[in-house]
Symmetry: C2
Subunit: 229 residues, 2 copies
Amino acid sequence: MLDKSHKHVSCSTCSARKDSIFGNYCECDASVVDNLKSSAYYKKNQPLFLEGSFPRGVYCLNQGKVKIFARGDEGKEQIIHIAKEGEIIGFRSMFSEEPYKVSASTLEECNICFINKEDFLTMIDTNPTLRNGIMKELSKELGDRAMFITNMAQKSVRERLAFSLIILADIYGDEQINLTREDMANFIGTATETLIRLLKDFKEEGILEIHTRKLEITNKEKLFQIAGK
Amino acid sequence: MLDKSHKHVSCSTCSARKDSIFGNYCECDASVVDNLKSSAYYKKNQPLFLEGSFPRGVYCLNQGKVKIFARGDEGKEQIIHIAKEGEIIGFRSMFSEEPYKVSASTLEECNICFINKEDFLTMIDTNPTLRNGIMKELSKELGDRAMFITNMAQKSVRERLAFSLIILADIYGDEQINLTREDMANFIGTATETLIRLLKDFKEEGILEIHTRKLEITNKEKLFQIAGK
DNA sequence: CGTAGTATTGACTAGGCTCAAGGGTGGTGG
DNA sequence: CCACCACCCTTGAGCCTAGTCAATACTACG
């Protein structure tokens, strides 16, 4: 349980900063960012922003996990990305000058800092190192999504599950994967029932342990094998 | 048939320039770009670059269409994007400092200009308008791909075909859509046979005319209806 | 200790893939 | 200019993955 009274996270002591674009690219500017930003506690399942609305700034994730998702025609969520500590969220639409094409919502309790649109854009304009970092980030994500699309189009659900579990294990680090079956199904792009059946298979094959909602990967090798490549 | 002896396309007379990021963002720099670039004629099905290799520069499409695709585990192509006249191709990997995650290959005869990596990066560094244009472009594509992923995961092949035909009609403008069945299937993310059967259905429903390989959309309204949204 | 949300299981169906076999078309070279 | 060959397109049959619907069990939290 996070400290809900925690009103201000300082960049200079931010444990996520080493994993962040800010940490990597503007060592010197911690205090500058510190003065511009505000920070806030978010409950589980609380939205940061919604598809269709216009961005007012960017979010920097200090603690917790956030899902980035789009909705299909019937309103079904497709999770595009799960952000972890240190990630900056929601800067895409600020450059494209479009409304958000995706929504963001907390998956657990989070501490999240916020930087105003104008302040952030000024930083980008005046700090080439940060700017290059952002461009690199945008480009990397674009490459990742090409692979994501290919996986969606060509892999079976079983293969996608294996692949996604590897990604999730990486996101959750030493913690166990902790998602509702529905969120997980929406990440993989399948029905909840199908996911459940496959998790059971994986368990029987000795790939993972199921502790109700938390998953513990016990044979990562085999996952790579099933995921293919 | 393009003029194969055409060795140099000039930016100032480039018919695609108005649709290009260069045309929109650096009116004044036409002659600068002109001096830096080289231009070349490409045959049908000629690769520009391959997944896994490192970028040496960017390509600017003066005439023709180019497919951007990734390969799945079994080597099957997944077409991520089809570039038309005026588009700049292959700048993503130059920012991410990774090898290409996708390949590019001409779909028909093309005239394509090439700008050296160093020259292009210098332009980006020194020309904020161009830079913002590029960032906008990266961001837009990222948004598009979120939708692409959602469509792949949630729509039926029939719906995806309708959706893709709308996109293709837009890319081909007043020309008729002209792709092999295989390329088209690889764009939609389905088997060639399934695509063919569905095209037949669409023809019988009065949505399109099939002139062997060329497709003529006759009822775009209905396509929107089927695509949903 | 009840209730809402979440997870699980079963039965059924169908969309779409694979394999296999023909039919067209257009580009090239004699 | 025409014939041939390679490539592309089309059709059919059968199967199987994965989605839907429906009913039941579990779990956590107030």
